[in-house]
Every structure is written in structure tokens, then in C-alpha cells.
Amino acid sequence: MAGYTENELAKDLADKEYQYGFISDIDSDVVPAGLTEQIIHLISSKKNEPSWMLDYRLKAFEVWKTMKEPDWAHVNYKKPDFQAISYYAAPKQTKKYESWDDVDPEMKETMSKLGISLEEQQRLTGVAVDFVMDSVSVGTSFKAKLAELGIIFCSFSEAVQEHPDLVKQYLGTVVPITDNFYAALNSAVFSDGSFCYIPKGVRCPMELSTYFRINAGGTGQFERTLVIADESSYVSYLEGCTAPQRDENQLHAAVVELIALNNAEIKYSTVQNWYPGDKEGKGGVFNFVTKRGLCEAHAKISWTQVETGSAVTWKYPSCILKGDYSVGEFFSVAVTNNYQQADTGTKMIHLGKHTKSTIISKGISAGHSQNSYRGLVQIHKQADHARNFSQCDSLLMGSVSGAHTFPYIECKNASAQIEHEATTSKIGEDQLFYCQQRGISEEKAISLIVNGYCKEVLNQLPMEFAVEAQKLLSISLEGSVG
């Protein structure tokens, strides 16, 4: 059975009109394609940025010019022409449907399967709805509640204007502009993103997801996120959406920086469901993301990701365990189907003493897809008594998909304890037969088995999100065993 991916998204994306969705908020502002110093000046001035921000962008651009697109990942794609991209994308214009009846029934079905409410479905598809959707006022009331606690949660552009000191202090401290090709590109041209600051000792009372989803209008092609958890604070942050994400941008190069100061904890969960291309592997989003967190003493960062979308994924949410007794965790489910390619994993850099990291990675490959885990566990000389546990499992469906594991371990301290476990398995015919003999259909059996396989990771997601993620897994794998 075809999911939303094969049919109506393909149709949507084939819609030529859709490609010209880049319209800036001021009528005549059409920035020519290509990247030059002038374009960066233009972006910065349109956003009315202070000079330090412009300097930062220009510096990144200088660095980017000297860099080459990396090709070490186990992915194969036609490299984008970076001079053919238009870098000024004002708040993204999604295609509007005239009425709810115009929305493709299959897309509606997918969203219903995910259990998304009708109001939200309409918002996500960009239907111009007549009745008042209360997102603005809901958003405002959330904001008021957060403000009471001193929590700052706003768009990145707003943060640059309203909280320049914080941005200046932390931007680029975890992912420097020189880090990699895509990070440098992002630093030069980032459009917008989110900023979050949790003050000392404050426990953020809600998943920032709820708020985020309500406001998730357009986050753009070069998204920039900065989350700062001050000493002894806690925040659970949710990025993305399980609903099908239609996007006209082929290249996504986001940067996410997390900073957990002493005793702070950040839980960062992502569900990524960008357009993966059609059944033949045409089209689809390239998702080249740099995500990294820094832990000070006794701090903890947990990355949880469920990746089902994109044609090509290149993503390694990492932790720098700088402070003593800090903890880094990475829980990942990456599903590839048809001709999707994913090269994803994590880096755990142990600098502090008694630092601890856990990596649980579950890859599922179906169709003709290639799914790679790439991880680095690095124990530095001074990191006495560091510990790591890694578990990388791969599940293969069908006979033409691929699963690969590239674990790197660098250990310079003899007191370290490092464990690595890896398994590769196929969905067993005998498991399917067993389920079917109990009256369970093949599709349901696959979903049951896959969800069981991913359970350790799904358990890490906030409750309501986990339910959607489970359904998403089933939808992504529909028809993958024939």
C-alpha cells in the first residue's frame, strides 16, 4: 500500500507552482540565487541584525568558501549546486489549499492514522480555515506562563534582537563555524530557528513541543537552534512533527546547539519525517544536520530521534562531556525504505572525569534503502573512569536493503570502560507466521515486531509523541514486506 510518500506528496512536489513558494514578506524582495558576500549583507540587513551578527555570518562565509562538501558518509547523491539556491527565504510560504475538501484524501488519512486532531490537520496542510484557530492565544498563554518562570522561548531572530547578550555568549560555542561544511554554510545564511533559555534552578513545566508545534509555521531551510539550560535547570524540548512534512527545499542544513550548565539536564527529542522521495528514489529532501550539546559538571543531555523521512540523512547528534560526572545519551531509530539513505549516529566526547555515555541505535532498512550507523566514542587522556555503553542493532526487511555499522572508538585513558554490542537481524518468517497464526494480519504483525524492536528508544519519547511515532513507523514501512 502506498503511504503519503508515494502519491500525493509526489504530486504536490511535482506541482510547479509550488516551487516558487519563496516570496519574501515585502513584495519586491526577490533575492537572486547564489551565495556572495552581498547576499549575506542583504540577509542580515533584512533581518535588521546588529553588526556582530553580520560579522559572524561573514566570517562563516569566508570559512565556508575554503571548505569542501564532505564525502566520507555512506551515501550517494548528486551534490547540490550551492550557487543555484536562493538564500533569502522569508518566512516560508506553504501552499494554501482553498478548502479542506481540496486536500488529498490520502494525506488526510495518514494524519488520521497518526491521531492528529482535525484542527491541527488543517493547520498542517495550510488550509485557510474559516473558524478561528486558537493557536495565537494558546501560544500567548503558554508564553505568559513561561515568562513567569523567566524562561525565554522565541524565534532565533527575536532572540538576536531581544537577548543579544545570551546569543552572543553562546552562539557557535558548541558548533563553531569551522566545524564542517554544512555548519559553516548554516552559520553564514541561517534563516531562523528557535532560541530557548531556562534560568538557574528552573524546571520547565511543559514539553516545549506543544508550544513549538502550535508555532511551527515555517522554520526554513537553514534552521538554527540554540538551547541553554542554566545551572540546575531542566527542559524537555521537542523538535519536528510526525505529520508528513511537505517541503519544497531540497537541501536542509540545520545547526542545533545545546548547552547544559552545571547540574542541568536537557532532553531533546526529534521526529523527522521530511519528504523521502518517491518509490523510484526521485526527489526528496537532503537533510544535513549538525547537532551537538555541551555538558558541564553533573549535567546531562539526552538525544532521542526517530528518523523516517528524507532522501538522504546525514546527522550525528553528539555530546561533549566536558564537566566531571556529566552524562550523554543517544537513542535513535532510523527507518529507511525504498531508495532512502541514512548515515546517522552520534559522537560522545569524554573530557571530564567519571563521565558516562549510552548509545542505543536501532536501524531498520527496507526496500532498496541503505542505513548506516556511524558513531564515535572518544575518551580523552584526562577523562578518568569514563564509561560508555553502545548498542547498535540493525533490522533488515526484504533482500535488497543494506545495513552498515561504523563504530569508532578512541580511548586514551586506561581506566575507561567501553562496551559495544551490535546485532543484525531480519524480521523472521517464523515471527510473522506466529503472529498470523494468532489472527494478526501481516501488516499489523510487522508493525508489532518493529515497535517491539524499537521499544527502548520509543520509551524515551514523551508519552503523546511516542504514540504518534509508533504509528509513524508502521506507516513508513507499509507494504515493505510482500
Binding site: 515471527q431 506466529y434 503472529c435 498470523q436 494468532r438 489472527g439 499489523k444 508489532l448
Partner: protein
Amino acid sequence: MLKITDLHVSINGTEILKGLTLEIKAGEVHAIMGPNGAGKSTLASVLAGKEDYEVTSGTITFEGQDLLEMSIEERAREGVFLAFQYPVEIPGVSNVNFLKTAINEIREHKGLPALSAKDFLTLVKEKSALVALDASLASRAVNEGFSGGEKKRNEIFQMAMLEPKLAVLDETDSGLDIDALRIVAGGVNALKSKENATLVITHYQRLLDYIIPDFVHVLYDGKIVKTGGKELALELEEKGYDWIKTAE
């Protein structure tokens, strides 16, 4: 209820069942005994619909319907249950979740509404007591880390939950100690009714001390060569299978 007529079955070109005929009526307990390689487990797999087996000729009707035309899950939903000789492990999927999915698929097939969480749990409690299955096993992943005995008890527990019309027990006694055997047999007996039937496949007479069959069939070289009452099982136990082989 079940009518097998002149059934021929091959696997990879080798004929295993060579003209098997068998009829089971509601309320009856049948036992199939026979030496290794006679085709006992093949029969169980064919009834359940396992795809590796090729039915070359013959018919199977179940409640008047052509069983061979039905998919694996359709057969299960219509009431054919196979207690596996080697129950399969499904990591990360709790027994409870597994059974709830199965029950609701069967109920949907029958046009019944899904069972409420409360009713379901009541049922779990009631049925797990039947085979003295520890409540913690119900919430553990399907068969994962279960002992041999626990796996077999879990099969009977599932059978109790799903309430099949025809239960096929494939070597359910293998690997069971005498206490576990008693518990399993007790569970099977408790589920017996006028409406359902049981087909017990076994090597040994031992199980039939506890599950008393109405008919005992001897399967040898792909055919039923002898049929009798429960005393046939005792005779087999005493004399072995050789006399049947030579009698043929």
C-alpha cells in the same frame, strides 16, 4: 468440523504426506502418534497454512469451508489454533499487547467491538490462572527469556484467551517435566467443550494419560495406518512402532 481427504503434501519436491484422510467432529479429542519423520508436524503446519508446504492434491474443509483457500490469519480468525512445538520469541512486544492485538483482530473479523481494557485484563487474570502462569509473564515480551515449560504454558494460555474451535497441539509435551505436563494438560482439559475439538500430536503416550483421546491415529510414512481408541496408545507404548510398520 475438520475433514481431511486424501491429502498429499510435498516440501521441496519431497512428498511427506501421501494420502492422509481424517475427520474430526466437534467435541472430540484426537491424538496422532507416530515415529519421527512420519509427517506429524507437517500436518500441523499445513493446517495452520505455513507457506513452505505444497499441497499437491486432496482437500481440507473446516466448518464446511475450503481451508486451503484461506490465508494464515483467516484460518486463525475462523478458529484454528496451533500450539507451536517451538514457540517463537518476539522481543519488545509484551504478551499482553500481542494477545490484545490478536483478540481484537479476531473480534473485528467476527463483527464484534474491540474488548475494553478492563474486560481484557479480567480475561487475562482468569485464563492465566488456568495454566498457573505467573502474572509477570503476561507483561513480559512474548516468549523472550521464557523457560521451555513457560513457553508451552504460554501457548495454552494463548489458546485459552483466543478460544479456538480447533486446537492443534504440536508436540506440546516435548521438553516438559511431569508437573508442567500436568498443568498443561489440565489447561487443555478445562477448555474442552462440546463445541470445540482438539488434535494432539505427540510421540509419547505420556501426555495421553492426562488428555484422554477419543481416537488415536497412527501416522506412518505419510498416511494414517491404524486408528483406535485410547487403548491403542498404550499398545504403542508397549510394543513401539515396529509392529505397525511390519503389519503394513
